[in-house]
Symmetry: C2
Subunit: 97 residues, 2 copies
């Protein structure tokens, strides 16, 4: 278990987890960046609400990427099946036996 | 632009965005579930801190999935190249011309 101290939107957080320190830094940087961006567009917003909006924004990206990955797998699967069928058809025409 | 009202951890949020209502509901349900889970393991935590931990948790999943997708693309790309090379080698042995 790794422990890591990160700063997000001016506050320190102690994180614990299996992830490598570099991965934790990247995660914290992403959340910090989104907090700063979102705060610009919502002046005077309560920090708890801002953090929820950031969580929603990141969750949206996560679910979009999950859908994208699923569609891509299906597409590649279909593409390879089509290709095998095309190759089989070409050889069938040669009547090799 | 779609508007949608969702409840997260007992609070109502008005969301605006291009996403379909079903996608927004799914996003809100994910954040709400994570808030409830995380709250169980951190009793008495301030809501703003809880939301940040949830945002970090979701961001971690997002970055892991991005890495996974990249590795998978590289793997499939390598696999298809290897396959083409193997097929070329097999035909070369036949010395068809």
């Amino acid at each position: 278990m790794n422990k890591y101290s990160v700063e997000i939107f001016g506050q320190r957080y102690l994180l614990k987890g299996e992830a490598a320190p570099e991965a934790m830094t990247e995660v914290a940087a992403l959340v910090d960046k989104k907090m700063t961006e979102m705060a610009k567009h919502s002046s005077g917003i309560a920090p708890a609400k801002l953090a929820i909006l950031v969580a929603l924004n990141i969750a949206n990206e996560l679910l979009e990427l999950r859908r994208e990955k699923k569609e891509r797998d299906l597409f590649i699967g279909k593409k390879t099946k089509d290709l095998i069928e095309r190759i089989e058809d070409e050889f069938e025409e040669l009547q090799l036996g």
